[in-house]
């Protein structure tokens, strides 16, 4: 598993997750995220891949009663981001997220991108302008919106809205970006745009993506993990998973015999 010369950016160790209603959603998950690589989580609906992804920025803390066990270690500082003493807000400032459905705020394009910086107390107009431009360029949206930054975000198309959400997540220079089925609400052309964008982004940061689309995982990811019923069945380099998986269940899922 994994090449020896890769740097581990984060890893989950013996990670279990229970929802407030008692559902044991994740069981003993061990997974490394390699720096500046794309790791894809695949598996049938309800297998826990989104639950796992959302643990990386402590989204489950928003709803009372959810319980984490085990660790998710963030390197190089060896912080266990699940520890109760670690503020979830600190975690979200380091690890940003792009959601399944584009969810821009009902504000201007500019304010959407600048919001992460505003939350951090940044009010310097020049610096904000620079950062917004940089993030929009990073999300390959700049050319389409540079003349109408004060327009409301919902006037953009679905694909543009999703790239706006990527720009919003990018503006705060995160170490890891989480993508929760980012293209499932988009048309094929917008999907290609987002996929190309992710390949570009991984030059700068580490990416974890949940996807329903196996071709997508095969196209863009460096590593793939197959999950089923809350367990990690197999994790390996994407090529290996899709050509010669070592587990029977993985092969059945990949070849469409199941799932």
């Amino acid at each position: 598993m994994g090449k020896q010369n890769e740097i581990i950016k984060a890893e989950s160790k013996n990670f279990d997750f229970h929802y407030a209603d008692g559902t044991h959603a994740l069981k003993n998950i061990n997974l490394p995220l390699y720096e500046k690589k794309i790791t894809a989580l695949i598996g049938p609906s309800g297998c826990g891949k989104s639950t796992f992804l959302r643990s990386f920025n402590r989204m489950h803390d928003l709803y009372p009663g959810n319980k984490y066990d085990g660790e998710i270690i963030l390197h190089p500082d060896n912080t266990n981001i699940l520890h109760t003493k670690v503020d979830p807000i600190e975690v979200r400032m380091r690890i940003s997220m792009v959601f399944q459905k584009p969810n821009p705020f009902p504000k201007s394009i500019y304010e959407n991108v600048a919001y992460g910086l505003r939350v951090r107390g940044e009010n310097n107009k020049r610096l904000l302008d620079e950062k917004v431009e940089e993030a929009l360029k990073g999300a390959s949206l700049w050319n389409e919106v540079k003349d109408r930054l004060q327009d409301l975000a919902y006037n953009l198309s679905g694909g543009q809205q999703q790239r706006l959400c990527i720009a919003r997540a990018l503006a705060t220079d995160p170490e890891i970006m989480l993508f929760d089925e980012p293209t499932s609400a988009l048309d094929p052309i917008a999907t290609v745009n987002i996929e190309e964008l992710m390949s570009e982004l991984k030059k700068k940061l580490t990416i974890l993506i949940v996807t329903h689309n196996m071709q997508q995982a095969a196209r863009i990811s460096d590593y793939t993990a197959y999950m089923y019923l809350g367990e990690m069945i197999e994790f390996d380099e994407t090529d290996t998973i899709f050509t010669k998986p070592s587990k029977r269940e993985t092969e059945d899922y990949i070849t469409g015999k199941f799932g």
Binding site: M59, E90, N103, Y115, G116, R118, V119
Partner: protein, 312 residues
């Protein structure tokens, strides 16, 4: 080839069935139109009756004259000034408290049986007869706190009445904000207060404003609680002006002053035997209805213009 396809045997039966079902559509439409028309006509007749009866009094002097023993020269100056000042107090008490309570209950309070209990009670408070609030105010504000029968007391009393309306509408407006917008804000590292201030409050503003205006429209017509706390029925002077030309320009002496309000003035005139006073009462009633309609219209307008800017 097409000629060989025969229509299904029971096509006529299907058509008959559809016809029968559509009869219900028509029936319900007729009932609906009838009910709506009955309501609209009732309101219109009531309003026109007041306007026609009160028409002779509808002039500027009616608004600039004090009440008088002579019906011809009597006006509603002290009443509308009193209503305006009382509502000012109500607004500044009920709005911050109601909005803050709504935000707390929806965003901060732990969900459980206790918050459910509070929710049920707040909803019930909105339906408590207003005279009960009057009795509470008489015991608490007038006697216990010694505030007397003043504009302050009346304002506080009406704000009790308005609070549940503001709280309920604030909570409903907040609940309408989709989870994914909230999560987006949290995901970039916002604290609860930042999410509340930058998102929740702004997106809920349309609903909150509607609740405030509807609450104010209710407060303006309330009579029973204001009579209960002992408001005067005949007043031929104005409270001290809130703003003055000398330092410090603003004073609060008016809070302490005696007062009357529009519905009490109307009630007073109705109870007179002379017909001329009944004309005054009708004119006052028309003024109250026009104010209420204007406020409701404003609420609809505000909600529309704010919602137009927000899409999820």
């Amino acid at each position: 080839m097409a000629s060989t396809i025969k229509p299904a045997k029971d096509l006529n039966a299907v058509r008959a069935l559809i016809k029968k079902h559509k009869k219900n559509d028509r029936l319900f439409s007729v009932i609906g139109i009838f009910v709506i028309a009955a309501l609209a006509i009732a309101l219109l007749v009531l309003f026109l009756d007041l306007v026609i009866d009160g028409y002779p009094k509808m002039n500027l002097e009616f608004f600039s004259n004090f009440p008088s023993r002579k019906a011809e020269g009597a006006g509603i100056l002290s009443a509308w000034v009193g209503s305006a000042l009382v509502l000012t107090v109500t607004f500044f008490v009920a709005v911050p408290m109601g909005v803050a309570a709504g935000i707390y209950l929806e965003e901060y309070a732990k969900k459980g049986w206790f918050s459910d209990l509070i929710e049920i009670n707040v909803a019930n408070l909105a339906g408590v007869p207003s005279i009960i609030y009057g009795l509470l105010a008489l015991g608490l504000f007038v006697y216990e706190f010694g505030l007397g029968t003043s504009i302050l007391t009346a304002g506080l009393t009406l704000s009790l009445l308005m609070l549940p309306i503001v709280i309920v509408s604030t909570r409903e407006a907040i609940r309408a904000i989709p989870v994914h917008i909230r999560e987006a804000a949290y995901a970039v590292g916002a604290t609860k207060w930042q999410v509340t201030l930058h998102h929740v409050l702004q997106y809920a503003m349309g609903g909150v404003l509607t609740g405030i205006i509807i609450g104010m429209a209710r407060a303006i017509g309330e009579t029973a609680p204001v009579i209960t706390i002992g408001a005067l029925t005949f007043i031929a002077f104005l409270p001290p002006a809130p703003v003055s030309e000398v330092m410090p320009f603003i004073n609060f002496n008016w809070l302490d002053a005696g007062f009357t309000v529009l519905p009490i003035q109307m009630f007073n005139w109705i109870s007179r035997p002379e017909h001329a006073f009944h004309i005054n009462a009708a004119a006052t009633g028309a003024v109250i209805i026009i104010l209420t309609l204007l406020m409701n219209g404003l609420a609809i307008r505000l909600r529309y213009s704010i919602r137009k800017k927000i899409k999820w």
